[in-house]
Symmetry: C2
Subunit: 247 residues, 2 copies
Amino acid sequence: MSEDQSCIIHHFSHYCSLSKEEKELLVTLEESPTDIKSGALLWEIGDSANEFCTLKSGWAYSYRHLENGDRQILEIYLPGDIIGLREFAFSQRLENVRMITNGVVCHFPHKRLLEIFRLSVPLTSVMFAIASRHQALTTERLITLARRSARQKTAHFLYEMHARLSQTNSHLDGKFKLPLSQEQLADILGLSPVHVSRTFSLLSEEGLVYRDRHNVTIPNLEALAAAGEFDECYLNDNVRPLFEACA
Amino acid sequence: MSEDQSCIIHHFSHYCSLSKEEKELLVTLEESPTDIKSGALLWEIGDSANEFCTLKSGWAYSYRHLENGDRQILEIYLPGDIIGLREFAFSQRLENVRMITNGVVCHFPHKRLLEIFRLSVPLTSVMFAIASRHQALTTERLITLARRSARQKTAHFLYEMHARLSQTNSHLDGKFKLPLSQEQLADILGLSPVHVSRTFSLLSEEGLVYRDRHNVTIPNLEALAAAGEFDECYLNDNVRPLFEACA
DNA sequence: CGATCACTTGACTTACGTCAAAATCTGTGG
DNA sequence: CCACAGATTTTGACGTAAGTCAAGTGATCG
């Protein structure tokens, strides 16, 4: 596998420029890529947790069921993301993970992370930075879910997806494919499916978001960011150069 | 400063037994303890982020303001907690942090963390484990805030506080001091202050929680856990031994 | 002993949920 | 190319948890 094809290297390079050795170390995390079908489970709550996955292609999501049968989707994973970081401290899975589309994942055991710790301070720092960025993302979503209106939640989510996709796919230009049903959107946003439908209608009337099946068009990104009170800071802008760590 | 007084060592020991050298390394993180008054800001959003704090004593909380003036409290910090992990990847603070009570904090620069990365794989693992446990906590709160009723939110929060306090203070036995106003509770739980008041009345009528000023009494912990749909897993039970890392 | 602050209680409003029916899309086989 | 079945999505009527406003009741403190 060439380094250029590795989306994990692409992901890491975002934080810090990497030496050849570090790249080689990372490439080993993406051995044995496995095809996986849309709708398939990667793992379930309670499964033993001793590995991470990198998502080479496709979308996935993690979720939990509540006692009343509601489902909360916790995270949407996009190509290049690492799945399962959350459970490094635990012996069991704390959440279910399921593929949204067909995709390819690579498994690597937690032990490999310890090797990284041993071999490269820069990569360790990047892993830590990724975890902390992840945390920032979750926090932002927490604020949105706890406090904001359906309109703001939806705008915020769509803007976030666009922003995250832009990172790897530079010329989206306000258009992207969102392979999620409204029921799934409801489970992400903490709304009912019918209210998601109404909210999309509203956003469309306002000219903020047009949607045809799974194709989303955002004519004015700034307007949508404003509608969702989206705070740029937490995603990219201030990602720390970490040059001290890498130098 | 003796090692026995160090609450950071106590905190870390929870994850993994530490060698003498590692303890010494940790103790250096708690140099220069600083008194800090109730209500004082540790930092504000936008401040440059180049250090963590350990909280030796007292309570603190992090928060953000929304555009409509609402405030969301993101995290309550208890003695032994590390504040500011979230911002390791960022150059600026993403949230405000304020003391709830008088307390003592110790500052240590991000660079020290890189030293830890360099010097000790076990400590690096523990740092990572702490970050991942933190993430688990935030995720659980996200689910609660997004999906559950005021009664469940309140029960969940109180149970969580009790559980976290029990970790360092073994014989609480259902009684503890909660130095938070109902307005602050509202800002944590995503409710209005008046609804917090009503919810406490309800919990009290149900015999689940009694409260006199800032003193909370929980006669039946299991009943409260059930009311809040509290899932033990995510806090302690499954914290990974990490022996492989330490051995 | 007022003055200020935190909490409680009640009346009314609102955003979102629920239920159920209608409309639309998707795919399959004839 | 059409017909039909099963999902999704939309629309409408109605219910409810929690918000808002405002007045009242305690605490705490100079």
